[in-house]
Symmetry: C2
């Protein structure tokens, strides 16, 4: 089956909002094995929306709209799509009751009630995070139409819990997809290692770059999920075998999630001392719910004075080698272990740019150290050939630190290049 996504909202065409809805829906369709051939954005304009709906229903089997289900006058997706698909809107009593409950303390205006008006005979997709329900139905021509709300916090759970199960019923085959996440080897290098695997059509294996990391997506199509999973398993194993210790996880969200999980398993705690990353490493670790069990403390020590006073970095080290040096990174990691009492300490110092670089110490040069109180390892990140942003250097330095913690916990060489 072929699908298209139509996002409705003038704010998307003014550049005020990034269209993450399409990405979220695209991912879900890909997981279902449904081809998304086309994605479009139109503003809050009946004529253009109507035209786009006709085009979509003409050329695709499935139309998924995002946005325009709310209470205001701008919200005209439901009315327009229903009309174009030949459906009448009728009051959906349970949705109306939910609205009444939501607005129990007042505010249930005529506009709000409009959200409970839904295409006759549709499957209502409940909104567990907002007031506007979604809906799904088939047109007289057998085309599937699904309407989802615009705010990603409402769209994402509705899609997952209600729209995907609705669509799955139309699929004869099921898709299973697994991601093998790699740190320390780039997309091009891994693509070479698994070249033969990427030639297969079921399961497929496809390498992707992702913010200083890469992952391989393995996808199989079969009659049921167990069978599809069983087809993926040997390919995933083969990739793990070939890429070796650079594989940090399968189907994990991020390096930080993996690190928090492994710290918990090992019963160990972590502390961080950051200079150029300025709290980004601590932020990423504490993005993970429950990280408070394993994250002892973090310090952002920009000034040399603070590096000395708080972390005990020797004045002589800073004088002799500078703040951006292997020696300072080492002293920061060792200092934060002493100061915090954590099992593992990480120290990061470098030049994130855009200013502050020299020929000897260019923008992008970062030293990252890990200490367990007994041993300390220091890795050096060199700037890549191409101009990269401050954000990029900071992100990559924090990722490298996380990977060092992972390697340490797994008993691997802490810094394998």
């Amino acid at each position: 089956m072929q699908a298209e996504v139509l996002s409705v909202g003038t704010e998307l065409l003014l550049g005020q909002t990034v269209n993450t809805d399409t990405t979220i829906v695209a991912k879900a369709l890909s997981g279902l094995g449904i081809d998304l051939l086309y994605a479009a954005v139109v503003g809050d304009n009946v004529g253009r929306l109507e035209k786009a709906v006709w085009d979509a229903l003409d050329r695709s089997d499935i139309l998924i709209t995002t946005g325009g289900l709310g209470p205001t006058g701008d919200d005209l997706t439901k009315e327009t799509v229903a009309a174009a698909a030949g459906k009448k809107l009728v009051l959906h009593q349970p949705s109306y009751d939910r609205l009444k409950e939501y607005f129990a303390r007042g505010g249930l205006s005529e506009n709000q009630i409009k959200q409970a008006m839904l295409p006759e005979g549709c499957t209502v997709l409940q909104n567990d995070n907002g007031t506007a329900p979604g809906c799904a139905f088939q047109t007289a021509q057998g085309k599937i139409v699904i309407m989802l709300p615009g705010p990603p916090s409402e769209l994402e759970p509705m899609l997952k819990n209600y729209a995907v199960p609705y669509l799955a019923k139309f699929q004869n085959a099921v898709i299973a997809s697994h991601s093998v996440h790699v740190y320390g080897r780039g997309e091009a290098a891994v693509a070479l290692m698994i070249d033969d695997l990427t030639q297969n059509s079921n399961p497929t294996a496809a390498p992707y770059a992702k913010e200083g990391e890469m992952f391989v997506r393995v996808t199989a199509k079969a009659a049921n999920e167990a069978e599809a999973d069983a087809m993926c398993a040997p390919v995933v194993e083969e990739i793990r075998r070939r890429v070796g210790s650079f594989v940090y996880g399968v189907d994990v969200d991020s390096l930080e999630e993996l690190v928090v999980r492994e710290l918990k398993k090992a019963g160990k705690t972590l502390a961080t001392a950051e200079s150029c990353t300025g709290g980004l490493l601590a932020k990423r670790i504490t993005d993970v719910p429950g990280s408070s069990d394993v994250f002892e403390m973090g310090c952002v020590t920009y000034a040399n004075r603070v590096k000395e006073a708080l972390l005990g970095v020797p004045h002589e080290t800073l004088e002799a080698h500078g703040a951006v040096s292997e020696q300072t990174a080492r002293a920061m990691a060792e200092g934060i272990v002493r100061r915090s009492g954590a099992d593992i300490g990480v120290g990061i110092t470098g030049i994130a740019g855009p200013g502050g670089g020299t020929a000897e110490k260019p923008v992008g040069l970062v030293y990252i150290a890990l200490s367990d109180g007994e041993n300390t390892w220091v890795a050096k990140r060199q700037p890549a050939g191409r101009m990269k942003s401050r954000e990029w250097h900071r992100h990559c330095a924090a990722s490298k630190a996380l990977d060092m913690v992972r390697r340490y916990l797994a008993g691997l060489p802490v810094d394998e290049a």
Copy 2:
């Protein structure tokens, strides 16, 4: 003039990449006063791309494509669009020379050379951040076609430096746009305050919500930039007057940028002690280049033990009131000022969720304190009615802290509700 954007790339339809290119181009068009009526995404498929180009050239004055200019076989935008627009590709010598220079150490394959093949007679848009140049030309029917590379780090500067000036020549009128940024008053509240101003058509004033803040965009159209700016000025002033001290800046990028600037102006330094925000506040401040001049140090103190040892939060305070309390926030702010020697210290403690909430101290409850060593102010953030994410609570708490620093530096009441 009416424009549309066509983004080319299968990765966008698989949900692997968020389409920020469209947002970037949309913003630029909006700044030029060009209406963007339609944005679409197609995969790396000649047939569908061709069809999309024909549709676009049929209904719009300007077509801007993003992506597919690179060296690989998947990159087929230039060939397809040029053919659809009736243009031949010819070798562009300066682009070829640039490629030779870039690949001086080897690697200039046949595929790479393809990037120097450009539509005959086009204006070449130099790529200062990558190998694939863009281009701009007019079709025989007078339609404007612009092709930009996919990576945002290449697209954004090319758009700003070369494509926008190219488009500006076709515009009789110029658009000036200014944003009045507000913290502490929501979109709905400000919309009421400036209701009459939002009714005007030139200049327009439009309120927008943005991650726990809001801004009002004032836009004027005139014969030249100075005139358009002069039309905006009194409206911007009037909004400042009505919204008062909740306006934190005009045409600033973010609260953190403003705070770093104001700290520099005042010659003051800042230090932070974070619990639930876990380094996010430090990260946001150090996102700003040059923040090292004013950011003394940051601490992420999750564990009570660390709050006591590092910040000197009294054991009795933690026992009597808990880690999430006004008293603890106060002691954290005062402790970090003592510890760091900075002029201003901020302490944040709260419950970011999803776990850890109670009836008395629900998820989203955050206390934020600011101390200058003499006086300390504490603000309390209550969770809003709707379920919000961990990310949201952390972001809003960090924003509140930044706003308190701004207010302190401006001599305003530090926590005005």
